[in-house]
Amino acid sequence: MPQERYTWAAHYDDGSVHPEIDAAGRSRGFTTVDAGRCIALELTPTDGTAPRVLVDVRPGERPVFFRRRTYRLELGSGQSRHEQTLTVAGTEGETGSRYVFITEDGTVVLTSTREPV
């Protein structure tokens, strides 16, 4: 699998930051984020060249982050490969949802659904 394109960091209302990679270099799952305290979600490119992404988390919303991975299996020949990973950040709340989908080539899609075409 290729290197992740972005890592996330949750910004809390007390000014602290909860990053995906902790001080010891270990990764955390997004379920460790305290959604009730999160006011912003920041995506930092791992290659240092892509733009950073900042998602504001408004009152009543909860932050969302996931990587959508697709594997492709050739049923006949048996070749298998990782096809793509989409990096997705956004918010969900009673007034609606919004997501940023980022493809491996850097294309950004803004959407209100987790399942864009």
Partner: protein, 173 residues
């Protein structure tokens, strides 16, 4: 940041076995094997659809991480040759492939067996629930596949009949 995941095949055992690498290919046949060619699916000589024995695939974590996996979907890279159709269903429990759980033949061409959904080029869910990827082993339900062959199939017999690629997607957080 990511668990190491593969698509594994589960079969050849009365109870749930360890997954094996399905990335060597899958042949749809009428035997409890991943790639066996000794029991082919008969092509109907009159209107109707014959089905393969079930093939059970699942995501398997081979190296865990502190993430969770959810929203598992399956789809195809293209449309199969006329007369061939792949179908799927999610299943929480392993069921050894045999003649008893092979879908019953239909008297119609292009039939979909009861409880199954035709695979298309659009992702369709086979198991949505979030499951921790911290431990190695099967992650989520099985994706149970069967191949239907109907009387309109004109490609002739063979053990290397081309099918579209199978795609499985999931969300990891």
């Amino acid at each position: 940041m990511a668990a190491t995941v593969r698509i594994s095949y589960y079969g050849g055992s009365a109870s749930e076995p360890a997954g094996v690498d399905a990335e060597g290919g899958v042949k749809f046949n009428r035997e409890d094997s991943l790639t066996g060619t000794s029991a082919p699916i008969p092509i109907p000589t009159t209107t109707g659809t014959n089905f393969s024995w079930i093939k059970q695939l699942a995501l398997e974590v081979t190296s865990g991480d502190s993430t969770t996996i959810s929203n598992r979907k399956v789809f195809l890279s293209g449309t199969p040759t006329a007369g061939l159709k792949l179908h799927f269903k999610g299943a929480s429990a392993y069921d050894q492939a045999d003649a008893d759980n092979m879908p019953e033949a239909s008297g119609s061409d292009g039939a979909t067996p009861s409880g199954y959904t035709p695979l298309t080029t659009s992702p369709q869910s086979y198991h949505d629930n979030a499951v921790s990827a911290s431990s190695t082993g099967r992650n989520g339900d099985f994706c149970v596949l069967v191949l239907g062959v109907d009387s309109t199939y004109s490609g002739g017999a063979g053990s290397n009949i081309a099918l579209p690629d199978l795609k499985i997607s999931y969300d990891e957080a």
